[in-house]
Symmetry: C3
Subunit: 158 residues, 3 copies
């Protein structure tokens, strides 16, 4: 898939990746090790703030959780683009881990994280196919509803 | 260790791996990247349903949690067998992450996940030795008691 | 960075890594696979016992949580040293995952895990830069306040 293809696909979807994250922190947004690119945990941060706050199933609906997962996945892709120069460098997504902030009775973590899985498939096509774990957390930083990490395999540069 | 050895060992243990998972989903059950095979998160799904449901320590006993972990580990091995063709392709297990669905007072996650560690060692012998994290979750999908992921190193094919 | 540099840096910081862990268990403390070294989950175990117990934000302060994270990170580095012979074998830290034992209202997981991130940067300098996820757990083994895992890239041995 060429660079034009990925850009085209994103354009058709109306997907804009976020600008590089310049917040100060003790950790980095993504690292390349061998052929693997690993992101930090990302939440639904957009335009300078977390645009969803609260627990899914009580303070937020499933649909809002899905939207938060969608945006969190955009942030993971943004971190990979910043690391690699382009999403075209991604051979495939290896892993999506989705942490959902929810109470003890919540059972629909998979539906929430589908919002992130869908984005990966929409933007990257079959390169977006991935393994996944969806988990329910007692709490998350800043009371965000979703946090995600992505591990991607990078194309052979030679 | 030859293919016969692993099959023999499984036979002696009475361990049957599950049939391939044909449920529809937005993610895959396992991925091979370089020499690493990574599974999705698996629960105690068997014969078309999750055969344990509920939180360990309140709705289920530790022993039931261990059995659920044992079955979840079988499912991880089944996913690796489907991906690799045979468990003989496994050089060693690198990582077992065990998520236990439990209340805030629960402290016996290691005992529960021992049910999965034991299976890996029984089926794979010293190739089953692994690093591990055992964690207590506020909630899990479908209210399953345990979810597991496994990362394995695959034998050099050349 | 030479061996002397790392030892010097640790000495200046007054950082002593723990002795090898000889507790019996069904899993190992760290594994090398390809160029990646992966630790098991470690808590604030020191001198034969977990020196912090309880949930952060209710039973323990943020500062105590940070200290627990600092000690847990020392244990991860100790496991890597035992595996690799020396911390000088570390090319860089790839990943720190920090699980904080806390109630549903807790939101300061990043501040707690900064205690671990700081140690990695102090001991390893720029080789200690890492990706990170900080998560809130319903419960942890033995009611420890923090559990950590570290993934490191190992230097090319040739």
């Amino acid at each position: 898939m060429s660079s034009v293809d990925t850009a085209d696909r994103r354009h058709r979807l109306g997907v804009d990746l976020p600008p590089p994250d310049e917040r100060e922190s003790l950790f980095t947004t993504a690292v390349l090790t061998g052929s693997l690119a690993v992101t930090s945990g990302f939440g639904p941060y957009w335009d300078g703030r977390h645009i969803f706050i609260g627990k899914v199933g009580s303070e937020l609906t499933i649909e809002q959780g899905q939207d938060a997962a969608w945006i969190s996945a955009l942030n993971c892709l943004g971190a990979l683009r910043d690391l690699l120069g382009s999403l075209d460098a991604i051979e495939r997504i290896v892993r999506l881990t989705g942490w959902v902030n929810a109470g003890p009775e919540f059972t629909k973590q998979p539906a929430v994280i589908d919002g992130a899985s869908s984005l990966l498939l929409e933007v990257l096509g079959e390169r977006g196919q991935h393994t996944r774990a969806a988990l329910g957390m007692a709490s998350l930083p800043f009371n965000i509803p979703v946090e995600l990490e992505v591990i991607a395999e990078v194309r052979n540069q030679s």
